[in-house]
């Protein structure tokens, strides 16, 4: 029954728009696999994609978001790994694809999956409570002078936030104790509540408490400032946050957001998704989302993407090794 409809629909599509490639198309609902819990940055991104795909009719099949946040996202990776050849599942990956195999000895390698596209880069910002020190310099001095180590909250253990904390320690000589929380949202409220002194959340995770004037961004861990100049708070835009390097703290880290299919999918299937996501990143919903979450635009596919992943992967491995987080 549905086959007939699909064939009819496909035929209609061919006649209606001749230039559209008549290649492979998903015949079942497409599952966006999220390697994090409900409400986290990946989940929000998946729901935005779901909405953008549906509103702009980019797919004939429905889109389903499936949350596989168990074991800090390891669940999602193993799920993708065990779905070889199933082109109805697409993973929103982030730096866990490099870090989890190292820290938890997870038998996983991103090379086993089929890369589709790198769609964004996420920034990290050093935030402190609005009642705390006002600049990076003051912050580091206060941390050094403090009797007990400054507490820094973050998501999970031996992951991006934890690595950044270790490098903060290494570069400044101040002592921090790292508090692992289940999500960035939790790390944000704990900072507002004064239970921690600082965090290194992504812009999206701290956006609302920043706008409410409860936290202060000290610097962004990137070579250049964030490009968005529209005012976010009453007085500041993302672009007003200095880079850490400007403030004399030479630490940089960006996190990828990329889409992967399971391994052993056909060339046609891979191309279909490359096409889908290149359309998706042109939608107003997507652009709006990027600006709101202060994500750095990037779109890489094919060889460029592989090259990027390889460089990024070895950089992450180096950081994890230096931080001492690689499990023996």
């Amino acid at each position: 029954m549905r086959n007939l409809i699909t064939i009819a629909a496909a035929a209609a599509a061919i006649f209606a728009s001749a230039p559209a490639s008549a290649g492979w198309e998903p015949s079942k609902p497409v599952e966006i696999v999220v390697a994090a819990g409900a409400g986290g940055a990946s989940d929000q991104m998946a729901r935005m994609m779901q909405a953008a795909i549906q509103k702009n009719n980019l797919l004939k099949q429905p889109v389903v978001v499936s949350l596989k946040g168990g074991a800090s996202g390891a669940e999602a990776l193993m799920y993708m790994k065990s779905s070889d050849g199933d082109a109805n599942k697409v993973l929103i990956a982030y730096s866990l694809i490099y870090m989890l195999p190292l820290s938890a000895k997870l038998p996983f390698d991103w090379k086993e999956l089929s890369p589709v596209a790198v769609i964004a880069l996420d920034q990290f910002v050093l935030w402190d409570n609005v009642n705390g020190p006002k600049t990076v310099k003051e912050f580091i001095e206060a941390a050094k002078a403090s009797g007990s180590p400054f507490k820094l909250g973050g998501t999970g253990s031996k992951r991006e936030d934890h690595v950044l904390t270790v490098f903060l320690e290494k570069k400044t000589g101040a002592k921090f104790s790292y508090l692992p929380y289940k999500s960035g949202g939790e790390a944000a409220t704990q900072l507002v509540g004064g239970h921690t002194e600082a965090n290194v959340n992504n812009p999206s995770e701290n956006l609302e408490v920043w706008r409410a004037g409860q936290v202060r961004p000290l610097c962004v861990f990137d070579k250049e400032r964030i490009s968005y100049t529209a005012k976010v708070t009453e007085t500041q835009s993302w672009n007003d946050i200095p880079t850490c390097k400007e403030q004399g703290l030479d630490v940089q880290y960006l996190m990828l957001r990329a889409m992967f299919l399971p391994g052993k999918v056909s060339q046609e299937q891979q191309e279909f998704y490359v096409d889908l996501f290149s359309k998706l990143v042109q939608t107003p919903e997507y652009k709006d989302y990027m600006e709101k979450q202060a994500l750095k635009p990037i779109f890489l596919t094919g060889k460029d993407m592989i090259q990027f992943l390889e460089e990024d992967g070895s950089l992450n491995k180096q950081l994890m090794t230096e931080a001492g987080f690689v499990a023996k």
């Binding site: 029954m1 549905r2 079942k28 609902p29 389903v64």
Partner: protein, 180 residues
């Protein structure tokens, strides 16, 4: 709570027959369960010891709590074995009679087969077989009623989960033949 809810409803008109022989006593099961728990405690304690069960500068390590919990579980199981041997009351109590065991197996075995079948036939076909078979064989309900109920229930579940709500359930050759 335990088995309190059963005691209340024993006024059932078809109360279990009195003279069915006992298969095993509560004491025997209690000892067997305690031994199993003890074995589990030993395995988990060993695994957590390997993970690291000490108290370092940042508080307890990953294996600290599970390790000591395993020790507590092991201790309580040992105590349980001793207590079971000393209790003459438990030795008297029947765990199940033969007739009861047969009835429990009458529902457990089909459930087990259902779970196995689910992997090959998909959940909907397996549930059709389970419901129809159980109603006919255990419940002695007319065959047309059994088949109809089973079909309707499975079909409603299929429409609800796989079509309306897009919850993807395990499916087998039959669904594949229809293009799902």
């Amino acid at each position: 709570m335990s088995n309190a809810e059963i005691e209340i409803a024993v006024d059932d008109p078809t109360a279990p027959e009195e003279n069915s022989p006992s298969v095993t006593s509560n004491r025997a099961v209690d000892v067997a369960v305690s031994l199993l728990l003890l074995a589990l405690a030993v395995v988990l304690a060993w695994d957590n010891w390997r993970t690291g069960a000490s108290w370092d500068s940042t508080g307890p390590e990953a294996g600290y709590f599970p390790f000591y919990l395993s020790v507590i579980l092991g201790g309580a199981s040992l105590y349980g074995i001793g207590a079971a041997f000393l209790s003459s009351k438990e030795a008297m109590e029947t765990f199940v009679t033969r007739a009861q065991l047969r009835r429990v197996m009458a529902v457990f075995v089909p459930t087990l087969l259902f779970c196995i079948a689910m992997q090959f036939l998909g959940i909907y076909v397996a549930s059709f077989l389970l419901i129809a078979g159980f109603m006919r064989i255990v419940g002695k309900i007319a065959i047309w009623k059994s088949l109809l109920t089973a079909f309707l229930f499975s079909a409603v579940m299929f429409v609800t989960f796989d079509i309306v709500f897009d919850v993807l359930m395990p499916k087998g050759p039959l669904e594949a033949a229809f293009g799902y």
